[in-house]
């Protein structure tokens, strides 16, 4: 059964098994490899994307559940050449090391700031449970506060 949804503003129709996780549809069918596979069981957050504006772990999100929805991935976050303020904060604070977890990390943080524009450390602890095996966490915390501030100033 064809499933139609929008990805980064573009309508897509795919004829695919409905239980295929959104992650693998993005990566293998649509060539959007910025979203990463880390665990497949919703435990690490590497695959985080937005569905209708909320962060979801796409490895455990069947594609049939996004029918009619708007999906946003890391590739759709910047506005042309202008980076999202979270991406900019990630550069300013030199967050990524290997970088593999950072697409999911950034998407989770964008959702956090959309919901809680000025999060406390406790808010951050509670909301950002993604795994980074390179251990960039303390820079992530600083960069989140910086991005929140940039949002206020904007």
């Amino acid at each position: 059964m064809p499933i139609t949804f929008r990805v980064n503003g573009v309508a897509r129709t795919l004829d695919i098994e409905g239980d295929t996780p959104l992650l693998w549809v993005l990566r293998d069918e649509l060539g959007l490899t910025g979203t990463k596979f880390g665990c497949g069981v919703a435990a690490c957050g590497a695959c985080t994307v937005h569905v209708d504006g909320s962060a979801v772990r796409s490895c455990a999100y069947p594609v049939e559940a996004v029918a009619g929805a708007e999906v946003r991935t890391i590739e759709g976050l910047a506005n042309g050449d202008t980076l999202h303020r979270v991406q900019q904060a990630w550069i300013d604070h030199q967050v990524p090391q290997c970088g593999y977890c950072q697409s999911g990390m950034i998407m989770a943080v964008v959702d956090l700031l959309d919901t809680v524009p000025n999060p406390t450390d406790e808010d951050i602890d509670f909301a950002i449970t993604n795994i980074c095996r390179c251990g960039t966490y303390s820079r992530i915390r600083k960069a989140i506060h910086a991005a929140a501030k940039a949002g206020e100033d904007a």
Partner: protein, 748 residues
């Protein structure tokens, strides 16, 4: 194994005209002969570097970094060193992975370049390189380390450009100077861009022995620089091995025998061949691979496949049997001496206070954020491999093992690595993909390991056990120390997998790394080791032998301090009487951590110091332990002396990274076995530290002019003992085994 041969590697700085004009400069290597030296000898002399500078007629400066970028910042550090002497701004250069098939220089015949890694990994690479035919042309010099070599490449290139400009102007080169990608004539407005000079400059003789800049004149090296790989990584544009897409490719997913030492008994494809996307089930080493039209379909089929396994040699191997066997090995008959100085036995015999303690550490998985994967295409007697490998040389070896195609017919394309930590210094993930590609000639095969396979079929950090004994003199110094470790030999395991006779437990230096050559003064010392083996695959894990030995040594030193009523910091400082560099780091970290100040009830401070990969790191951890036994690591102070610093921000980032990696292991790291099969399989049962548990980290760098040391690993070894020593300080409970999640810290 015979005595260590002195092995030399000659490096040839070579230059030439690039395809399409412009110039290229780099190094080629000639190895004299394969020898039998231990990796410690290599570590000193065989720092491999092959960075290439290409300057196009359009004045574009491209630096090819063939080293694996796995987060440690080499993609930025090598260009920084070159830019320093070449006199171009870091933000004006472009970095690429070189095409190892000679796009840069035609006479460069080495297909598989040396990846940059320290210690044992480098050793393996060198051993494989030594087996491969190599020819090189050019002048000769001896490698002293990449820190100098990269700058030399920059300086030689600059001087060739200056010489060309000077000739065009009819002046002496000393009348000219280079700045920001241009050559200027002193006191005049004349100027050439490098691009204008490059093609002709490329035909000039390459100067040797150009004096390098003094450190005080550096504009780039030693100051924090933004990493060149980060913009792509925040946009999701960096290509990792798992992201490789080739036209017409098929997707493979492995299903390995979970029992190390076991085999596939039987499988039946009838149950799965009608599933969507099914292509084939291909037998591979230690398992099977499902081939399908997408990763997800292959995963689903692999899960549904009716397959049974025979535990083979893994039968009966459990956590408890390993622990018991290690204990037994420690008191067994086969013991190899690693270091002996003075008469330890006599000193103990004469003492009425010999202090003893034993420690145990578990197997650890790597869990690189990016699960193992590789893409291989086989075409006749040729093969190509796309993978994030810690060395393309190792990847080529994997293809050869999986297909029989000689490494000289293998083309490697290296991608970004989603973490390495030693795991990607293996070739099994390439071999598995290659075995499938061979069965699908002409079709690219991308194999992705589910996380469960990545954990169960990891090549683990070995479990280890140790006993320590010491006696003190009247002044509170150590008059005798005896340390004995038992574990599987990492290098013997690696050698077996690469088909190289490399090391036995007797010659494997990683087993005693961090115990031997301790900077502490012991009036007499004996370091020895007990071999032990089982079918569980073991390999390099961030900091290798240091990862367990630092825990053993720094726990025991702490225990000795308390046993003799001395302050753990003051005791260490006393033992470092002959090691000023280490003593300085120790004093520095104690100072910034306010070691002397009171810390409050239920809280504690612990200190640890360790030298590895030619860097010394001191750490002080602060912990809080609640009455119910729950605890937090609140803060970690970290000081490193790594000699000259290239990018200080990267050094700090690597310190933070190594601390989190070591803390994850200290808190949660433990792989247990049943019949040789790992009982953990994903982040659900093999936890990783998360943001909310990450301590505040204060990192400082002590600059020194000593040899340059590594930064990717040395902050990992001290963190576990710093934390357990802090726990002792807080609640008086001595932790002698990890992970801490299994330890009851409730005060009785």
């Amino acid at each position: 194994m015979g005595t260590a041969l002195q092995i030399t590697k000659r490096a040839f700085m070579i230059g030439g005209v690039a395809v399409g004009g412009g110039m290229v400069v780099g190094y080629a290597y000639l190895r004299d002969k394969p020898g039998t030296a231990g990796f410690e000898d290599w570590g000193q002399k065989a720092e491999a570097l092959n960075a290439w500078v290409k300057i196009t007629p359009a004045n574009e400066v491209v630096i090819a970094v063939p080293h694996a970028e796995m987060g440690q910042g080499v993609y930025t550090a090598i260009p920084m060193l070159i830019c320093e002497e070449l006199e171009v701004d870091l933000d004006s250069v472009r970095v690429e992975h070189p095409d190892l098939d000679g796009k840069y220089i035609n006479e460069y015949p080495i297909k598989h370049e040396v990846g940059l890694e320290s210690g044992p990994i480098l050793w393996v690479i060198m051993r494989i390189i030594a087996k491969m035919p190599m020819i090189a042309t050019g002048g000769s010099s001896t490698i002293r380390g990449r820190y100098d070599d990269a700058r030399r490449i920059g300086a030689a290139t600059r001087e060739m450009l200056i010489a060309e400009a000077a000739d065009r102007w009819g002046v002496a080169p000393s009348e000219c100077y280079a700045r920001k990608g241009q050559v200027h004539l002193r006191g005049q407005d004349y100027m050439f861009t490098y691009g204008e000079l490059a093609e002709a400059a490329a035909l000039r003789d390459m100067p040797s022995d150009i004096p390098l800049k003094e450190k005080k004149n550096f504009h780039t090296v030693g100051t924090p620089q933004r990493r060149l790989d980060i913009p792509a990584k925040v946009k999701g544009e960096a290509t990792f091995g798992i992201d490789v897409v080739l036209p017409g490719m098929l997707y493979a997913v492995p299903r390995f025998c979970p029992h190390h030492g076991g085999t596939v008994a039987a499988y039946n494809i009838a149950s799965v061949e009608t599933m969507p996307g099914f292509k084939a089930v291909v037998p591979i080493t230690d398992g099977v691979a499902v081939v399908a039209t997408s990763t997800w379909r292959a995963m689903k089929i692999a899960n549904a496949l009716d397959i049974t396994f025979d535990p083979g040699d893994g039968a009966g191997v459990t956590h408890d049997t390993v622990a018991a066997d290690l204990r037994q090995a420690l008191t067994g008959d086969t013991i190899f001496t690693a270091e002996e100085d003075g008469d330890v036995a006599a000193t103990f015999a004469a003492s009425d206070d010999v202090f003893e303690a034993s420690y145990d550490l578990p197997y650890l998985a790597h869990t690189c954020m990016e699960p193992m994967n590789a893409t291989v295409r086989v075409q006749g007697d040729q093969a190509e491999v796309w993978s994030g490998s810690q060395s393309p040389t190792l990847a080529a070896n994997g293809v050869e093992q999986g297909t029989g195609i000689s490494t000289s017919n293998v083309t490697t394309y290296n991608t970004f690595l989603g973490g390495g930590f030693g795991r990607r210094a293996e070739q099994d993930f390439v071999r598995a993909a290659a075995e499938v590609a061979k069965a699908f000639e002409g079709t690219p095969i991308k194999m992705t390991w589910p996380r469960e396979e990545d954990v169960r079929r990891d090549i683990f950090r070995p479990a280890a056990a140790a006993t320590f004994k010491a006696t003190l003199d009247e002044q509170g110094g150590v008059s005798a120390l005896h340390a004995r470790v038992a574990l599987q030999s990492v290098m013997a395991g690696v050698g077996e997998r690469f088909g190289l006779a490399m090391a036995s437990p007797e010659t494997d230096k990683t087993m005693e790394d961090g115990l031997k050559f301790s900077p502490y003064h012991f009036a007499s010392r004996l370091i020895d080791k007990a071999p032990y083996d089982n079918p569980i695959l073991i390999g390099n894990w961030r900091s290798v032998g240091h990862s367990h030995n630092a825990f053993f040594m720094e726990s025991f030193i702490d225990e000795l301090a308390h046993h003799s009523g001395q302050d753990p910091f003051a005791f260490r400082a006393k033992l470092l009487q002959n090691a000023p560099r280490q003593k300085n780091v120790l004093a520095h970290v104690a100072r910034i951590a306010n070691w002397e100040s009171p810390i409050g009830a239920g809280r504690g401070r612990g200190i640890a110091l360790h030298t590895s990969f030619e860097s010394t790191v001191g750490e002080v951890a602060e912990v809080s332990v609640a009455a119910d036994g729950s605890f937090t690591v609140d803060r970690v102070y970290c000081v490193i002396d790594c000699g000259p610093v290239v990018n200080p921000d990267t050094v700090k980032a690597q310190m933070e990274s190594g601390i989190v990696y070591g803390l994850t292991a200290a808190l949660y790291g433990e792989v247990t076995f049943e019949d040789g099969a790992a009982q953990q399989s994903n982040f659900t049962d093999y936890e990783a530290l998360r943001l909310y548990e990450t301590p505040e980290m204060i990192v400082e760098i002590v600059e020194s002019d000593d040899r340059i040391g590594g930064v990717g690993e040395p902050s990992t070894p001290p963190i576990a003992p710093a934390v357990t020593n802090a726990i002792f300080n807080a609640v008086g409970i001595r932790v002698r085994t990890l992970p801490l999640m299994n330890v009851n810290l409730r005060i009785a």
